[in-house]
Symmetry: C2
Subunit: 455 residues, 2 copies
């Protein structure tokens, strides 16, 4: 019987495994789930007759090669930096493979060899990157095949809390790695192009340069720029497009309040603070404010960032209890970002019954027959619970669907790939609709890049 090897049994693997186990009876294959922690792998196989759990140390070459050799196709759900070890073995033993991560330079370097061997190495086949590529390219290719010329492409994705579980002033909870949320946007200016003009937003302005977006039934969101939008021009074949912009979605008002942390320096992850184990939340805040023998931390913060008496930002800060003098950070040698994460996790961790939500918003501006048009395309996916989250579902299902289509020879394009080709994205998007992952399109008046939407 054919065998699918999944390496890495992390949070994002639940929906992938459930999907494959459901399909395994019809499509006839068995599933091997390998993780350095056997228990994690066993939690996913749940004694299913066609699934095996195994302990695998990815750095044990013999063990790794042996497992890969026995598989018909390999899915690496490891952290991105470990894929390359798996990939090299897959080349060696002629196995197709998939990852939900960005194509690294090392991975790209395997392309010639992979192609010569007729193998398919499918990457960026999760949600972002993944569903974003597929849903965008489907519309872009359609516009172009109808004779249209692309003028604008904007794309936003957000991992948020579902409306029914949204019960705090920030309208936000951690639905994925909190650390990534705290340090998001650092490491360089956001670069993009609007109406032919290159634009750069430094980290210290990032959370003040948002754009509002509306999704029927789900209300308003704000989009803030991702670091590099420009690379997508060559990936999507949009080299000459005058406007391309990619961003992250939050609920309205999140970014403006988050900017308080950015301005104070609380998101810095590059140095350790003194005495953080015994430091109170209040002392943590005070570390970033001028010394005063008389003024309160509250007053100094209000003055420093010019927060008015009636600004809702203040209530957001109070809700996080950041002025509490009794609660301790309790982490040794914490960076500001680690200390802030600790404070936020207390309030922003999903409760057992909470659900998450993935939101995607694309705008396509184009010219056809002398007329300018715009299509907005949106997708919202709500999680079932804390195991089968929207995140796990939107990452795992495209991976699983693609894996089966490659295993069955329905997708056989060779090379180190992204899902940007019609023969790949069409069948996968079609299959995703059965799981209620579908995009709604809306024609809108084309206004170009609309400065009225800037805040």
């Amino acid at each position: 019987m054919r065998s699918i090897l999944i390496i890495g049994a992390g949070k994002s693997t639940s929906s992938l495994v459930r999907f494959l186990l459901q399909e395994s009876k019809v499509k006839e294959f068995k599933l091997v789930i390998a993780d350095k922690d056997l228990q994690s792998a066993q939690n996913l196989t749940q004694n299913h007759s066609q699934a095996t759990a195994m302990a695998l140390d990815i750095f044990d070459a013999d063990q790794r090669e042996d497992a890969i050799q026995k598989a018909d196709i390999v899915i690496s759900m490891l952290p991105a930096r470990f894929h390359i070890e798996v990939a090299k073995d897959c080349v060696k033993f002629n196995k197709n493979m998939l990852t939900a991560s960005y194509v690294s330079d090392e991975m790209q370097a395997l392309d010639t060899e992979v192609r010569e061997k007729g193998l398919t190495f499918m990457n960026e086949i999760g949600v972002d990157p993944g569903i974003d590529h597929m849903s965008a390219m489907q519309v872009i290719d359609r516009i172009r095949s109808n004779g249209g010329k692309m003028l604008l492409f904007e794309s936003f994705t957000g991992g948020l809390v579902a409306p029914e579980s949204d019960d705090n002033l920030w309208n936000y909870k951690f639905t994925w790695n909190p650390r990534n949320v705290v340090v998001a946007g650092q490491g360089g200016a956001a670069e993009f192009i609007q109406e032919g003009q290159y634009k750069y937003i430094p980290y210290q302005r990032l959370f003040r340069r948002t754009e509002f977006l509306q999704i029927p039934q789900y209300g308003r969101f704000e989009g803030l720029a991702n670091r590099n939008s420009l690379a997508y021009r060559s990936i999507y074949g949009l080299e000459d497009i005058p406007t391309i912009y990619r961003g992250t979605l939050r609920r309205i008002g999140f970014s403006k309040a988050w900017n308080v942390f950015v301005q104070l320096g609380m998101t810095d992850d590059t140095y350790s603070m003194q005495n953080t184990e015994q430091m109170s939340y209040r002392a943590f805040v005070n570390s970033f404010l001028p010394y005063s023998p008389t003024d309160s931390v509250e007053l100094k913060l209000r003055l420093s960032l010019k927060i008015d008496q009636d600004d809702l930002i203040w209530d957001k800060l109070l809700e996080l209890d950041i002025f509490n003098a009794d609660k301790k950070i309790g982490l040794k040698d914490a960076t500001p970002a680690q200390a802030l994460q600790k404070i936020l996790e207390e309030k922003w961790t999903l409760k057992p019954e909470d659900k998450d939500m993935i939101v995607m918003y694309h705008k396509f501006g184009f010219e056809i027959d002398g007329e300018k048009k715009q299509i907005d395309s949106t997708m919202v996916s709500v999680g079932e619970n804390q195991t089968y989250t929207a995140m796990a579902k939107t990452v795992g299902l495209p991976v699983g669907i693609a894996a089966l289509k490659i295993l069955n020879g329905e997708i056989d394009k060779p090379g180190v790939l992204r899902p940007i080709h019609p023969e790949i994205y069409n069948p996968i998007l079609k299959a995703l609709e059965d799981y209620d992952i579908r995009f709604k399109e809306q024609e809108r008046e084309f206004k170009g890049y609309n400065p009225d939407q800037l805040t």
Copy 2:
């Protein structure tokens, strides 16, 4: 005849060479000035009978060793990262040496060997570091030897334009490496301690957290925090001091206006912008502002940073001509910092007749006989012209004076040193007074760290 070898004939060497040539007749030694560019070395020797210029490639080990072997003492005026090559040879051939740079880890690692051989490696013997160490330690040691306990140490240094040459709204011109000024403060939060509380200022707030200082006859200055003040606690033996703060001086209002560049992202040196060769100053500014088909760059900038109609910041920006649509950056693949430097150099370069100025301000707070006291100590040195600048003078003279005292055996403390010992700083500070580099002390009421001075 004894011989002093100076390696590196850069900008800061002029006053050093002039001093040594003057002394060479009395003290009987000759001077060898080595630089990779022979012409630079010759410009300094000026056919003086006791001076020789030579071409020296610091990476040619044979040539370097030969030159060092022939010298009685070596002064390295090279960029800081190159000192270590010279230092290793000095150990090998038993030569004393001096640098005006911070002690690197590599340099520190030589300490045992240097001490065993009875050699003196004097570092940080320029202005900052250098004169700051000496003038501070002299007062600190005096306070302590009188039975005082140090409560506060603040120290500020600034390289500025002299009042008589100060003719722009920023009250600033480049008197040293412009690049260092443009990127100043980047690379990590400023850390210090005030009244026992650790404080951190991130780059995005650095230019908004200044302190005002007054120097009789020279008016008001503002001080902004240097990156690491805490290291000076162990260097100065002030481990338990509740307040220690080191900073940089500018004229009042500079930092608030400079913050415009910081906030826009114009000081970023980590990425190259597109099309900078043909980019106008105006387009450069516009790159950091939201796109608009109708609003002017001026309006967008005012709105983005909330600059009022009557704010002097605006006149400072206009003075730099940053909205000019005809002037080009003219640099290929420039980083924002490089482009900004280009714009600033047009206005902030010293004119041939301009003079520079070095300003230093120390505050010493202490308790003696149950009473709290404060001494403020200030030094202002004005340059003669563009060759014998205040910077060259305050760097070169302490180096030269120390070199002669080591050569003559008046300073013979062995080890990798800073000038923080009385037997070193006392004679050097005394000698500097002959060149009008002197500190004025003023007793002031001790208020501790004064929050009223924060802006």
